[in-house]
């Protein structure tokens, strides 16, 4: 080929490349921008020049069948390429992802989808990551899913080294990468963690008009909202709530509630509420307030029975299940319960949950048909569960009169006719110390006719019984009682009377509330769900966050948050050797056997 011919050919291919570049760019961008126009102009000019320079060849080609065939093939191939690029551009416009993985964590969780679908203002997400950052592809891919889901989300990936002015304008200074979300004049940052939870939480903080205020009841030995370490503390949930920009305030039911409270949380009170406090709580819900109540078996009996007025029946039993499919330890510890997603109720709180809820030592909480209250069971234990009255007995098993089968463990109530609710007129009088003492003696299995004026130690009662009596009395009354060596039942009764009077004096009588529809109440029969030790199990945290989101009316935040527990791979030395044998011996060996077979076949 002469140099002139080579130059002509090079010019021809340059024209084709420019035209292709224009087609690809336009298809991918979905518009013709300035650079696209320049490409098109250059392509047209170069191709026109080639046609002019090669006019003789073109004329010959028109006569030669082989050249005509080649030209046709080239044109058809180019046309097919353009069609393919256009078809791909169309598919990109309606792009979607199906996640075949078990955890589906390469697609957005239902919580994020709810938040994105609820966006009513445009959000710009600027991701500042250097081009060399190993985090950049993952973050870009994650943000792309947000942009694909919602037209209101606009994503910009910026290299802060290449665009320092943009980084300075938005105050991005982290060298490890940073996300800046802006909407109007509001701005949120994501630093350190760049997963779906972190991005969605920032989005929620950005678009929430104001913080939700959640009031956390204290004073009855509830789960401690500041404790992030012990298994019974509720600090982990509170941290998650604060990550969603909710304010968690302390509340005392003995005092009028802060009108700013959007939801009240009563997280497993060990000490029963005083009648006035219970009246305040019920009045709060009947007056349009929202409350989440978690109750442990055997505790807060007064509140448990009062909730019947709101359409919730709270049993005093413990729900047990010996079926290993619904209780991880089966008959060994039937109080551990697994509620798979299929056994969760059809309610906004539970609808988006994909994982199981794991409860431990729960009491039954069922719907009690009540005019004015629309109640729904949220979760049920397995079909072989039952409500055990004597969980501490040897080998508990369902007795004839104990309820069994799919025991309900939680209820959500919406007040639809507040005026129809049959709430008590005012707080019932506090039980007298003597009555409380007699009831408690019976409850702990001691004879009610014990002499009151003899030291307890002289009655031949075991120490454990005396301590149990004092502790149960303390939980029922909220009065701290210290057993004394020479103390009598009369001393206990007097101390109780004095303590009850002091406690009652601290309570501000509940103010009368006008009935108003729209109150919401969620009651769960296991306070342990909220503890740091259980919150990360299965969908427990999502259940509670959903319950609170439903209570404060943030329905767009309901759903399953992205979560994962990772996969362990526990290999014994034998297992590892077996894997090595399959990987390096068996499979290559089979292929080698094939080689020998083919060699012998050919030789034969």
């Amino acid at each position: 080929m002469t140099p002139a011919a080579a130059a002509r050919r090079l010019l021809g291919w340059t024209g084709v490349a420019l035209a292709l570049g224009f087609a690809v760019r336009t298809a991918l961008l979905g518009q013709v921008d300035d650079r696209g126009r320049l490409l098109a102009l250059l392509a047209a000019a170069v191709l026109a020049l080639v046609a002019w320079v090669e006019r003789d060849a073109v004329e010959d080609a028109a006569r030669s069948p082989s050249a005509r065939a080649r030209a046709t093939a080239t044109m058809l191939t180019l046309a097919a390429g353009v069609v393919a690029v256009l078809a791909h551009a169309v598919v990109r416009e309606v792009d979607d992802t199906v996640d075949l993985g078990r955890r589906a964590h390469h697609t957005l969780g239902s919580h994020t989808l709810g938040v994105l679908d609820g966006l009513d203002a445009p959000v710009r997400v600027t991701a500042f990551f250097p081009r060399t950052s190993p985090l950049r592809p993952g973050v870009a891919s994650l943000l792309q899913r947000y942009a694909e889901r919602s037209d209101r989300v606009e994503v910009h990936l910026v290299d802060p080294l290449a665009a320092p002015l943009e980084a300075r304008r938005l105050g991005a200074t982290s060298e490890a990468g940073e996300l800046v979300l802006t909407s109007g004049d509001r701005l949120e940052r994501v630093l350190g963690r760049f997963d779906e939870d972190a991005v969605t939480d920032a989005l929620v903080r950005l678009v929430s008009p104001e913080d939700h205020v959640i009031c956390w009841s204290i004073g009855h030995e509830e789960a401690d909202p500041d404790d992030t370490r012990s298994p019974g503390g509720a600090g982990s949930l509170v941290t998650a709530l604060e990550g969603l920009d909710a304010q968690v305030l302390r509340a005392d039911l003995a005092q009028p509630l802060d009108p700013a409270c959007e939801a009240l949380v009563l997280a497993g009170p060990r000490i029963d509420l005083l009648p006035a406090e219970r009246t305040r709580l019920l009045g709060w819900v009947a007056g349009g307030g929202r409350a989440l109540v978690l109750l442990e078996p055997g505790l807060a009996s007064g509140l448990a029975s009062d909730l019947a007025a709101m359409g919730v029946r709270v049993g005093e039993e413990v729900v047990l299940d010996g079926d290993p499919r619904h209780s991880p330890l089966g008959a060994e510890d039937p109080s551990l319960l697994v509620v798979p997603p299929g056994d969760l109720g059809d309610h906004p709180i539970t609808r988006g949950l994909r994982g199981a809820v794991l409860a431990s030592v729960a009491r039954p909480v069922d719907v009690r048909p009540t005019p004015g209250a629309d109640a729904t069971v949220l979760l049920r234990a397995g079909p072989s569960s039952w409500a055990e009255r004597d969980p501490l007995g040897d080998a508990p098993a369902p007795d004839g009169d104990e309820a069994r089968g799919g025991m309900p463990l939680g209820v959500a109530v919406e007040v639809v006719g507040a005026a129809e609710l049959l709430l008590p007129e005012g707080p019932s009088p506090a039980p007298a110390a003597a009555t409380l003492l007699a009831d408690t003696l019976a409850a702990v299995g001691l004879p009610p006719d014990l002499p009151v004026d003899r030291p307890l130690t002289s009655l031949g009662l075991p120490d454990a019984a005396v301590q149990g009596l004092t502790e149960v009395l303390r939980l029922r009354s909220g009065v701290p009682l210290v057993p004394r060596a020479r103390g009598t039942l009369a001393d206990l009764r007097d101390a109780l009377e004095e303590g009850l009077a002091r406690r009652a004096a601290d309570v501000v009588p509940p103010e009368p509330t006008a009935p108003r529809d729209g109150g919401r109440l969620v009651v769960l029969g296991d306070a342990g769900l909220i503890g740091n030790g259980s919150i990360s199990l299965g969908s427990n945290q999502d259940l509670l966050l959903n319950a609170l989101a439903w209570l404060v009316g943030a329905e767009d935040q309901l759903g399953e948050r992205a979560d994962d527990l990772g996969d362990d791979l526990l290999l014994t030395a034998q297992g590892r050797s077996l894997i090595a044998l399959i990987a390096l011996g068996l499979l290559p060996g089979l292929a080698l056997a094939g080689a020998v077979w083919s060699w012998r076949t050919r030789a034969a």
Binding site: V24, R25, L28, S66, A69, R70, A73, L76, T77, A80, G81, A84, A87, H88, V91, R92, D95, D96, T97, V98, D99, L100, G101, R102, R103, H106, T107, R131, R136, P137, A140, S141, Q144, V155, R193, D563, D564, G566, D567, D568, L569, L570, L571, G575, R576, I579, I582, A583, L584, L587, P588, G589, L590, A591, L592, G594, A595, W597, W599, R602
Partner: protein, 251 residues
């Protein structure tokens, strides 16, 4: 259709009756096995190291941190060894003059190309089936995410189809096997690494890149645009090969 199958069966038979084909398969299996073993050891160590980092541990899953990297390695093996299978498919036919014989027979160019592609895909399927044994066998020790694995193998199958398409096109444009092999390597490697220029998934380099379109697929996330890219690229290369073979009649 029967003529397509006849061409495919003949080519596959030739490949399977050649010790070189089996040796290549053994080499792939041995390399894949070695990668697998290293990844398994790495995963076990990594999980042990993460005992005190529950956040990172929660995000370390078999599907993402063992199976997906392994499938990534298998993808590279396909890129390296695939063109070796297709290099002679058309170039050799042309060099030996068998192509003229074939094209003067009732066999149409499209049928010839489809048969050759089917035979090469059969070989790819054999390779993939062999490599799938390892993650499946892991199920004896840990919960293997079969959905993610299926998504990953869908991606590898489509990558295999692209490799076959590009390999056949390169084999059709020259009558020298070595040139076809090198050409296919250049094209496939360019398509593989172009995404490294800009890792933003919406950028033009990423949109053109094979590796960018495979990344989510290998983790079980099947994106419509990834499927479209791989299918359209395969379709276009086979179409171009067909057009190229059609011109042989007039050569």
């Amino acid at each position: 259709m029967s003529r397509v199958l006849a061409v495919a069966a003949r080519d596959l038979r030739v490949q399977l009756r050649t010790p070189a084909g089996w040796l290549a398969l053994a080499a792939i299996q041995a390399l894949a096995g070695l990668f697998w073993l290293m990844l398994v050891d790495g995963y076990v160590e990594r999980r042990a190291d993460l005992v005190f980092d529950p956040y990172a541990a929660a995000r370390t899953t078999l599907a993402d941190h063992l199976v997906a990297p392994y499938l990534g390695n298998v993808a590279v093996l396909l890129l390296v060894l695939g063109p070796a299978v297709t290099m002679g498919a058309l170039a050799e036919e042309r060099r030996t003059g068998r192509s003229e014989l074939l094209l003067t027979s009732p066999l149409r160019p499209a049928e010839l190309v489809a048969g050759k592609a089917l035979a090469s895909l059969g070989w790819v399927a054999l390779v993939l089936a062999g490599t799938a044994v390892l993650p499946l066998a892991l199920g004896a020790w840990a919960p293997v995410d079969l959905g993610a694995l299926a998504g990953g193998y869908l991606g590898l199958g489509l990558l295999g189809a692209v490799v076959v398409g590009v390999g056949l096109l390169c084999s059709a444009v020259t009558d020298r096997q070595v040139v076809a092999l090198l050409l296919a390597y250049v094209v496939l490697m360019a398509l593989w690494v172009v995404g490294w220029l800009d890792r933003d998934p919406t950028s033009l380099p990423s949109q053109l890149s094979l590796s960018a379109h495979l990344r989510d697929l290998l983790r079980g996330a099947v994106r419509r645009s990834d499927l479209s890219y791989l299918l359209l690229l395969t379709g276009w290369t086979l179409f171009a090969t067909w057009q190229r073979v059609r011109t042989w009649r007039h050569a």
